[in-house]
Symmetry: C2
Subunit: 419 residues, 2 copies
Amino acid sequence: MKVEIITIGDEILIGQIVDTNSAWMAVELNKAGFELEQITSVHDREDHIVQALDQALTRADVVLCTGGIGPTKDDITKQTLCKYFDARLVFNEEVLRHIEDLLRHRRRAINELTRTQALVPDKALLVPNRVGTAPITWFEKEGKVVVSMPGVPYEMKTAMSSDIIPRLQQKFTTPEVIHKTVLVRGIPESALAITIAGWENNLPDTLHLAYLPDFNLVKLRLSAVSFTPELVKAQLEHHLAALRNILRDAILAEDDIPAEQLIVERFAAGRLTLATAESCTGGNLARRITSVPGSSAVYKGSVVAYSNEVKTQVLGVDTTLLERVGAVSSEVAEAMAVGAKRLLHTDYAVATTGIAGPGGGSDEKPVGMVWVAVASPGGVISKEYRFSLGRQLNIERTTQTAMLLLLDLLRGVRPESLL
Amino acid sequence: MKVEIITIGDEILIGQIVDTNSAWMAVELNKAGFELEQITSVHDREDHIVQALDQALTRADVVLCTGGIGPTKDDITKQTLCKYFDARLVFNEEVLRHIEDLLRHRRRAINELTRTQALVPDKALLVPNRVGTAPITWFEKEGKVVVSMPGVPYEMKTAMSSDIIPRLQQKFTTPEVIHKTVLVRGIPESALAITIAGWENNLPDTLHLAYLPDFNLVKLRLSAVSFTPELVKAQLEHHLAALRNILRDAILAEDDIPAEQLIVERFAAGRLTLATAESCTGGNLARRITSVPGSSAVYKGSVVAYSNEVKTQVLGVDTTLLERVGAVSSEVAEAMAVGAKRLLHTDYAVATTGIAGPGGGSDEKPVGMVWVAVASPGGVISKEYRFSLGRQLNIERTTQTAMLLLLDLLRGVRPESLL
């Protein structure tokens, strides 16, 4: 069953917001057995919305529209859908009471504008908006469904999970979607493609393979859509076993989960604790790790030592060492890791120090030069990396690199083969 | 001049990656005077790519395609464009030498697969890919332009900035785009719309107004596209002055910049220093602040005190206080802020403590309960907030709330009127 998303709003097309909604919706739709055929972002303009709808309905059975249903003048999705489905806007008492309840809870008064949100198309089913004031509408025509929901992520997600996906599953019979992602460490994409070419050529048509290169990782995704899932799952398991035989230790994990989640899971399994000491990553390591629910069981905290003063006074890095070799050095990275491990009483500590840019570089220590150190029960090691990608990317890559280095050490990769 | 983006790749449509490229491209295209008409995400499938191209070319003069040009089997954009423009793939020595140079620099060997990247369509102009191996191609037909570039963000950005946008500007005459965004604090969207209704109705047709509600902020965006920019700028300035008269102190800033950048700019201007102490935000405050280039001039660092042990041993929070009132309390938030201010020797310190969820809540202290404290030269204050949005959003909103609270204090909002 094919679904399309139309995101409506000038703010996406001028780049004021990044469309994170669609990726979330894609994941949920796939899980529920729907194929997402296309995502289209259009302006808050009647002719544009109508054209996108017309075209989407030629390809898909379900069109999910987000955005453009706020109470202000620039939002015209509701009016446009009314015209499209030849409906009239009528005042709905129940919606008004819901809006009043919600605003009372937020200690806000209703006004003439929020009141207009209670005007709803007479030909649409209403889907509850459990956490917002804009009504969510469900139109049907010739067996096809068009839903209009808010672009506010929390409202969209609540409606999708609680109501829209369950209703779609009731209306349509969906196949099972089978996905398997293998994280491969240490082999660049093209070398990997050659390594597994024989295996890849042996894959049956039912299994689709995709390469998704990530930083210092390649994700291999095997997927299938089937009404006979048991059969396909057995096929997948068979080919996966063959892949394991080829790649062996290069497989970091058999799940598409981020490094921070692998860290939390593996530290929890080993009853180990972790701390971080961050200079150039500026708290990003801590943020990524604490984004994992349950991370508090293994992660004690971080010292973001952005100034040298904090490196010496809080982490106990020797002032003369700092003066002699500079903050961006193997020695200081290691001293930071050892300092954090001691200060926060943990089994492991990871430290980062580097020049994220755009300023602060020199000939000897250019922007993008980074040292990562890991202190462990077995001692402390450090590695140098060079990035040259602009500040945000240098920070992200340093963070990712530090986590992968920690994971490699944890799974026993020998220090001399560390990436 | 209208432009469309087509992103090609199954990974976007199954939600494995979020399309951040398009928002970046939208901003850069707008700055350069191009209107982005539509963004379309399609599968790695020939018929789908061709249909999207056909439809985009009916609306736009320029179509920018990203993705699907890697060396692996699943990538078919190059082959599809060849068919579309009736071109042949020919081997290009110069591209091969570039690939060899690049791989040598990365200390990697060329292989048969990377070698195929040197096959390029004979009817396309080549745009240099300065940082990657996939060739970037520029097709022209009946005055319209189709460009195909990598989906890898760094490669796409380098090509867009260095080559593609300059070439487009050479080929097409573009108007000036005028944008002005005003950040309004403390008035919900619908109340704001009523407050400025008279002003809004007075706006000339040349100026377009959009409301962009953000958390605890509404962004008002005035925009215009014009070949007579001086005239429009004067109009805009005139209406902006009127808006200032209506909103006064509710205007937090007249620029679409994030709270962290306002903090760094205002602290730098006042020669003030800042530290943070983070429990529930887990390093996210530090990350946001250090994401601003030059933040090291004002920001000394953070103690991410994820465990209570770190709160007491590093930040000096009284153990008996923690036992008596619990970590999520006004008292502990304030003690953390005061502790960080003292430990890191700063003028200001912000602390967060709360229950991000999904676990850890109780009747008395439910998930989403958060305390934020700010220690300043004038003393320490704290405020309670309640969120109920899921872990990531609770973390994001707490971070944003803490930064806005700090900015309000800094600009002299009286403690009793703090939001």
